[in-house]
Amino acid sequence: MNSEAKPKRSDTKIFFIHLARAFGGAMLFSFPLLMTMEMWFLGFYMNGWRLTLFTLLTVPLLIGLSYYDGFETTSSVWDDTIDTFVAYAVGFVVSIVLLSLFGVINLQMTIGEIVGKVLIQTIIGSFGAMFAQSLLVGDQEESKESASRKRQASYFGELFLMAVGALFLSMSVAPTEEMILISYRMSDWHTLALIAFTLLLMHAFAYAVEFRGHEKTKSPDKSFLNVFLRFTVVGYAIALLISFYILWTFGSIDDMALAEMLKTTVVLAFPAAIGAAASRFIL
């Protein structure tokens, strides 16, 4: 009897510890974008449909991320869903507090402007809150369990983690003017060289992960071609798609010629690819 009352209280206590950790993660990961002026401006000129889509896509992504790697060890989809909305709430609070402290939002602005600025940042903050587990590791027990879950990740699970990694890392530079500027500076040869370099980098990561034994069902075939086709090429394709989606969401490549669009996508796919490749290490 006595022991029944106790766990309840300690569950709450543990939750608040995890919540604090989530706040830490949200700040750690979202401050670069909270301090990026293009992000503030996006808040008031971003297309409403695209922001809505982006927010709605965040929910299943966070649920999936929570399964592999949330700020709490979860035991059901219900738990993952709850954690997702907790992460969103944390992201929201962090965005509102920091943007107010920086003077980016104030009460003289219209509600529309404030809401726009906060909502776009909330997405990044909620990812940060969810990432808290892997970066600010607390309980040994827990990290072991989620680590084993990651180790058991199926091929599609790995691809999912790669997509999240790509999304997260590319998001932190995608809104900046520099993405477009870099693509203007690059010739077609530069573009080709960047593609080759990115593939090489991804392959090095994939190879390293393969020998670390990230996947439970290790394929006996670790030949160059096998790893290259299963992870490097697929990972790069994911990085390109995510980059294109992010650029489209932020409206950076609207009304561009197809060739220019592609070039900018390749530029952003560089950080996206690093994120995708490293996600199998970090996440």
Partner: protein, 140 residues
């Protein structure tokens, strides 16, 4: 003893953790935020017609400043498209004759929002006829 221990171990991961009350409260707040956020943006996206920036510049105040005078102005964009690099020009006139012009550039005049800025003149604006207007912008 050993039996009980192994049983506990087996039990622990299976047993679904009871979600603490405060976790539910915060999750509910998060869900509420997601719904409200997507709801309002979707509503705005659906109902808003895209009207071009409609910029109105109005005089706010004037005071001596440094070697000359400062005229503060307010820019209201009542259109629902944002204008970037908005150039504001102020002109002091004596009848039809132009006495002095000054200009300022606002990085952004967001849709349905207000921005403030100032123009410097060397002559006292109160002794002349002051006209302030926006002369151009760039699409963001």
């Amino acid at each position: 003893m050993t039996e009980k221990k192994s049983e506990d171990k087996k039990d622990a991961p299976k047993k679904s953790r009871k979600t603490p009350f405060w976790e539910l409260v915060i999750a509910a707040a998060g869900l509420f935020l997601v719904v409200v956020a997507t709801g309002t943006t979707l509503y705005r996206a659906m109902t808003e017609e895209t009207t071009p920036p409609q910029i109105k510049v109005s005089f706010a105040s004037s005071e001596p400043s440094g070697d000359g005078y400062l005229v503060k102005f307010r820019v209201v964009n009542s259109g629902n498209q944002t204008a970037a690099a908005v150039t504001i020009e102020g002109e002091l006139k004596n009848g039809t004759e132009s006495v002095e012009t000054s200009s300022a550039t606002l990085t952004y005049a967001p849709a349905n929002s207000e921005r403030r800025g100032g123009l410097y003149f060397s002559k006292n604006p109160q002794q002349f006829d002051l006209q302030i207007r926006a002369t151009g912008y760039e699409e963001p």
